[in-house]
């Protein structure tokens, strides 16, 4: 039982001073920060996983043969040969116009436009690019097979795994997710410490009552239930308050995030499991607070005859 049942008459043994102490407010702040850190951790972890899945099986073959005609022939031959391989899910030649449009964003046009029609840009010898997605998980074997294919169809072409340049970003995001997870653990420990201090302070404040209760035959369990109930209720108030504020903040961020549809940011979301975790955290926190209070109280009472 998270909040133990105590007869109404027994509850009066502790004076009613609910929410007058700092405990519910400190717990509310810690719960708010815990939920925000947990949400950030879940969002970042999902983002890192999404990026990892997207780049893990994708490579770009860059054909840099100087002769444009030979380069184009090699590109066509390689795309066709790759598409016929069982280990390739898709092979797509990147259009030259698409390449120029991308480069135009950096070079700029004469009239300040993106520069797709710029004569200098038009004259640049652009490589032929072919994006290839592998089938399945056996990346190393597929890379070996692709290397052989490339050596045969387009000698001198370079194979660029996307994981090479996006991998560090995914790893950074994953590291940040771990940091957020660490913060959740630290704040959980801090919440536990607050509950321990509260339990000890309550025992100190009500020592005379506890001593009296012992003298008339109250068991440790009876006394513990009284305090455990009070502490569990106080922390539940704090946790509820922190959860409501965190929920409002997360909904606001989610509403603003919904406008972001491109780039890495679009991969961040909580998902059903993430929301379930966030909903479970406050309940786990109440259970943890009640358990911590119970163990602290029983340990302290053991020191009194």
């Amino acid at each position: 039982m998270i909040i133990p049942r105590v007869p109404v008459q027994h509850r009066r043994l502790l004076p009613d001073r609910r929410l007058s102490g700092p405990t519910p407010w400190v717990i509310a702040i810690l719960m708010l920060l815990t939920l925000l850190a947990a949400a950030a951790g879940v969002g970042l972890a999902r983002s890192a996983n999404a990026i990892g899945d997207a780049i893990a099986g994708r490579v770009t073959v860059q054909i840099v043969t100087a002769n444009p005609v030979t380069r184009a022939e090699q590109a066509v031959a390689l795309r066709r040969a790759a598409a016929a391989q069982p280990f390739v899910r898709s092979a797509r030649a990147v259009e030259q116009e698409e390449l120029r449009a991308t480069l135009g964003q950096w070079f700029g046009g004469e009239d300040g436009s993106e520069g797709g029609d710029d004569p200098v840009l038009q004259s640049l010898p652009l490589p032929a690019l072919i994006d290839i997605d592998f089938v399945g998980e056996d990346r190393a074997r597929h890379m070996g097979q692709l290397r052989a294919l490339v050596a045969r169809e387009a000698p001198g072409a370079r194979i660029i795994p996307h994981a090479e340049w996006l991998g560090p970003v995914a790893r950074l995001i994953r590291s940040l997710a771990w940091v957020a997870g660490g913060l959740v653990v630290l704040m959980t420990l801090a919440s536990g410490a607050v509950v321990i201090m509260t339990a000890r302070a309550a025992l100190g404040t009500h020592y005379a009552t506890i001593e009296m209760l012992h003298m008339i035959g109250a068991t440790d369990q009876q006394i513990t239930r009284l305090f455990q109930r009070r502490i569990a209720i106080d922390t539940a108030y704090g946790i509820a308050l922190g959860t409501v504020v965190a929920a409002l903040i997360l909904l606001l961020i989610g509403w603003q995030w919904s406008g972001v549809t491109s780039g890495l940011a679009a991969t961040a979301s909580l998902g059903p499991a993430g929301w379930a975790l966030l909903l479970a955290l406050p309940l786990l926190a109440i259970a943890l607070a009640a358990l911590t209070a119970r163990l602290t109280l029983l340990a302290a009472l053991q020191k009194i005859l």
């Binding site: 007869p7 008459q9 027994h10 009066r12 043994l13 004076p15 005379a208 009552t209 001593e211 009296m212 209760l213 012992h214 003298m215 008339i216 035959g217 109250a218 068991t219 440790d220 009876q222 053991q302 005859l305």
Partner: protein, 240 residues
């Protein structure tokens, strides 16, 4: 749960008991006595003689540093802590400083031992009301201790100690704050309980109080040692 008392049926047996707090000299030394069921004892001695320390061991708030203490036939020195509450429920204690719970009414303070023992509200309201009437505080049943006079608080403390009909009643200066008439009534209550089989131990300085109880035996503490010139405590006469 309770085995038969040893030492000639003694309810309480102290044998070679010593008590010290920390590294200091012993407060009590070589204290040996037996308390017989249904007997009435006065404990006297000068201030600092160790009366309160002896009473603390009697009501299980303190274990001795050495010696043997048996209560209701069980060795209390080595008794595991979790068994103590069951024994404490058989002992009523009147503290010198009352120790009433200030945020509970007089009624709730008196009802406390019954509630802790699990008596239902229905079953405890009668005895508590009766006890309030007996100590003359029926009109003040809902008053809180800080609003009661010293004498009223003492009466509530005594009522709390006897409400559960304990087998052993330990009282530390129980009449120190009441007028002579109330002192006589309270002593009458102790005597009545004693006649019903409760063993009573009263620590007091009041010599007049001692003379009012017939057949009461006296224990005198001097500098931490129990004087028993007649040997009545060690070898009590058979009570008919």
């Amino acid at each position: 749960m309770t085995s038969a008392p040893r030492s000639g049926g003694a309810m309480v047996e102290f044998s070679g008991v010593g008590l010290r707090y920390g590294p200091d000299a012993e407060i009590l030394s070589d204290v040996s006595f037996n308390l017989q069921p249904g007997s009435f004892y006065f404990l006297t001695g000068a201030s600092g003689a160790g009366k309160t320390s002896l009473l603390k061991m009697l009501y299980l708030a303190q274990r001795p540093s050495r010696g043997i203490v048996r209560l209701f036939g069980e060795d209390l020195v080595s008794m595991p802590r979790h068994r103590l509450p069951g024994f404490r429920r058989r002992i009523g204690v009147v503290f010198q400083d009352f120790r009433l719970i200030p945020h509970l009414s007089a009624r709730d303070n008196i009802a406390l031992p019954l509630r802790i023992a699990g008596v239902s509200e229905e079953d405890l309201s009668g005895p508590v009301g009766e006890m309030l009437g007996w100590i003359g505080l029926a009109e003040r049943a809902d008053a809180f201790p800080p609003t009661l006079s010293g004498g009223e608080q003492q009466r509530v403390a005594i009522a709390r100690a006897v409400i559960a009909r304990p087998q052993l009643l330990v009282a530390d200066e129980p009449t120190g704050n009441v007028d002579p008439e109330m002192a006589t009534r309270l002593l009458g209550l102790f005597e009545a309980l004693n006649r019903l089989g409760t063993t009573v131990v009263v620590a007091t300085h009041d010599i007049h109080l001692i003379s009012r109880i017939e057949n009461a035996q006296m224990m005198r503490l001097e500098k931490g040692r129990l004087s028993d010139p007649t040997g009545a405590l060690r070898y009590p006469p058979n009570r008919s």
